[in-house]
């Protein structure tokens, strides 16, 4: 029987198999940010241990970083967490892209951007969106702080293998429909626990047609379907993406690496434990209505009615979500007025996301009813590239604020937040209660949908725009 891509990556990193079915898995790359690392470094110090392989670690501040006036951090607790990262990096002699470095950005944007993420590696971070890196056929997954310490100390993790799931999206996407709509549709179909215990490989014509950045958007939200890791097989786009990246292999080693990378696909006769299929033509622009990413509908649809739900636990969850979101069943999604627009996060803050937004808002104005509309690039290099292309001017002329890189309003650990009751069209990944600020109401959508919503003050179906 053939191997899946996941089988291949798993076997290649197996250091030792234990009698209880667990495996000691070797970790090639470790991304570290300020929020989930302090207690791990403290653990190392208390046990008088050193990081196993310092070169495997890249540290970057992102969650707490203000996206304007970033060098005056007013919140003393945020400032202390950022200073703690700097001091841990100094203490252990590690590499960090600091706030003064143009390469600083969201951890999942900078890894691929630098070529730190490469096909065939295992890459971990104390952050569940580490699944992003699977777009380059790297096995990336999020870990808790105890595991961060474990990887620092041993370069391994004790793990049990997941099952294999393949999500195949064949056919061609319609106008205005993109990677974000695919993954929201997948989550809507399989549910937020549908991928629990699985690694998902995304395949099919519509996935092949996506850029590597689009594939990152898809893999990024694997965790919103419950899967710790998402993968896309290596193809020409993967290799072209990595060519000339600063940390990608050079010269003879590049050729050697590419020969290996080409093998990082699932065998034609590989068997998956679960197969999910979607037709690209059936996917419409998606918007979430509730407080879980599975609570999602096409923008042309209406808020669903809990009375139609047979399962009592689910019905109660729908009632709770509608109450929190202050929505009534049957309300057309396009008629819900919005307060804020957030374009950013590790899901949608790469250059191509910003280009899509610029195309839609160029020469137009943010609706006067929108209190705040911000564009937050994923890294300093994305910001520089956007400015080189003049995108910043388009955003500012349309009435958006053009910010500095960071996690921003995705999770409200920095000054960018929703106030209680405020409703936001957000290109981020989670619509949980309070995620973007206590009492804030999040509607997840693509960059195109959020951009069009900014102009109109409410959602519009971008597939119908002229």
């Amino acid at each position: 029987m053939g191997k899946t891509l996941y089988d291949r990556l798993w076997d290649d990193h197996t250091v030792q198999r234990n009698d209880d079915g667990t495996v000691l898995l070797y970790i090639d790359r470790h991304l570290v940010h300020e929020v989930t690392s302090p207690q791990a470094f403290e653990g190392l110090r208390l046990a008088d241990r050193e990081p196993w392989r310092k070169e495997s670690i890249l540290a970057v501040p992102d969650h707490n970083v203000p996206t304007f006036m970033r060098h005056t951090i007013e919140d003393p607790i945020s400032r202390m967490q950022l200073e703690t990262l700097d001091s841990n990096v100094a203490h252990f002699g590690l590499r960090e892209f600091t706030l003064h470095d143009s390469r600083q950005g969201i951890v999942h944007v900078i890894g691929p951007e630098q070529g730190f993420t490469q096909p065939g590696v295992t890459i971990v971070c104390g952050d569940s969106h580490t699944a992003t890196h699977g777009a380059l056929a790297a096995l990336g997954f999020g870990i808790g702080t105890s595991d961060v310490e474990h990887v620092l100390a041993t370069q391994t993790l004790l793990m049990k293998k997941s099952k294999n799931m393949r999500v195949t999206v064949d056919g061609k996407l319609g106008k205005g429909v993109g990677a974000k709509d695919i993954i929201l549709a997948v989550i809507g179909k399989i549910g937020t626990a549908g991928g629990t215990g699985y690694t998902i490989e995304y395949a099919g014509e519509a996935i092949r047609e996506l850029s590597v950045e689009g594939r990152m958007t898809i893999c990024n939200m694997s965790i919103e379907a419950g899967a710790r890791a998402g993968l896309v097989a290596v193809d020409d786009k993967t290799i072209e993406y990595l060519r000339d990246k600063p940390m990608a292999p050079k010269g003879e080693q590049w050729d050697q690496a590419v020969r290996y990378w080409r093998t990082l696909v699932s065998d034609p006769d590989a068997v998956f434990d679960k197969e999910v299929e979607l037709r690209a033509e059936d996917i419409q622009p998606q918007v979430s209505w509730g407080t879980s990413p599975e609570m999602v509908v096409p923008v042309a649809a209406s808020v669903p009615d809990p009375q139609q739900e047979a399962d009592p636990v689910r019905r109660q969850a729908m009632d709770q979500a509608l109450s929190y979101m202050d929505l009534k069943p049957g309300t057309p999604m396009a008629e819900i007025p919005l307060d804020k627009i957030f374009i950013g996060s590790c899901t949608n803050s790469r250059i191509e996301d910003l280009r899509v937004v610029a195309e839609i808002v160029k020469g137009r104005k943010v609706a006067p009813t929108i209190k705040e509309a911000i564009v937050v690039p994923g890294s300093g290099l994305v910001r520089l590239q956007a400015e080189k292309e003049g995108l910043d001017k388009i955003f500012i002329e349309a009435g958006f604020e053009w910010r500095e890189p960071g996690c921003s309003m995705c999770l409200g650990m920095n000054p960018d937040k929703l106030g209680a009751g405020e409703r936001c069209a957000s290109t981020s990944n989670r619509n949980f209660e309070g995620r973007q600020g206590a009492g804030g109401r999040t509607h997840l959508a693509s960059p195109a949908m959020a951009a069009a919503a900014a102009i109109h003050g409410h959602f519009v179906d971008v597939s119908q725009l002229q």
Binding site: V15, D20, I77, T84, Q118, I143, G144, T196, L411, R430
Partner: protein, 216 residues
């Protein structure tokens, strides 16, 4: 990690599916750099009505949401949390497990758990017990019906005992059971395999040298 052999305690029923780690411990508390002190902020947005606390705040005078399960007098002192599907989904923050442990929970029973949370719970001596949804539903009903409803969770025997004397068996991975029963230090155990890790690494350096090249 803290050892877990047997635990008997009061049960609190948290009756909603997909409880995410943002709900278990909201983002502002992730700014702390310690592993302790999160208990007063567990389920902060649901527990208090003041729109969110701040790290380090004294919670003794904050306004309580009387409707929230952990605020009801009958569930004071609960150490077993009864939950629904996909408990602990979302963010990888181990602060969620630290908050549950700091509050006093030793065991969470649910039909399913999110993977990362499951691992984080075990790392902190909290036993996640997965039971069939219909059994969990029955435990919910028994818990609603009986004041002071307590369960005994026995990891050695892999059973949960109800007040009526019923013994419900549960499954747990042997590796997790072994680690929890003995309260083992995971890093210490792995470092016993340091030679195997080094040997693997040397081989990897030879076969895939580009992974170890230092960038210019």
């Amino acid at each position: 990690m803290k050892a877990f052999t047997q635990h008997e305690g009061l049960v609190a029923p948290l009756d909603r599916p997909n409880v995410d780690t943002d709900a278990i411990i909201p983002k502002q508390f992730l700014k702390a750099i310690s592993k302790t002190g999160y208990g007063p902020f567990l389920f902060d947005d649901w527990r208090y009505t003041d729109g969110g606390g701040m790290p380090g705040q004294d919670c003794s005078n904050r306004p309580l949401n009387e409707d929230f399960v952990l605020n009801r007098p009958r569930y004071q002192g609960a150490s077993v949390l009864l939950a629904r599907d996909n408990f602990g989904c979302g963010s990888s923050r181990e602060h969620a497990a630290w908050a549950l442990a700091d509050y006093g929970f030793r065991c969470v029973i649910a039909p399913s758990f999110a993977d990362i949370f499951h691992g984080n719970a075990v790392s902190n001596g909290i036993l996640p017990v997965t039971l069939d949804a219909d059994i969990v539903e029955r435990l919910f009903q028994e818990c609603f019906a009986e004041d002071g409803y307590r369960l005994t969770v026995d990891l050695q025997a892999r059973t949960i005992s109800t007040p009526s004397g019923e013994q419900i068996p549960f499954q747990v991975e042997e590796g997790i059971r072994h680690r929890l029963l003995n309260g083992l230090d995971d890093i210490g155990i792995t470092l016993q395999s340091a030679d195997a890790i080094r040997a693997y690494e040397q081989k990897r350096m030879r076969e895939k040298p580009w992974l170890y090249a230092t960038e210019s």
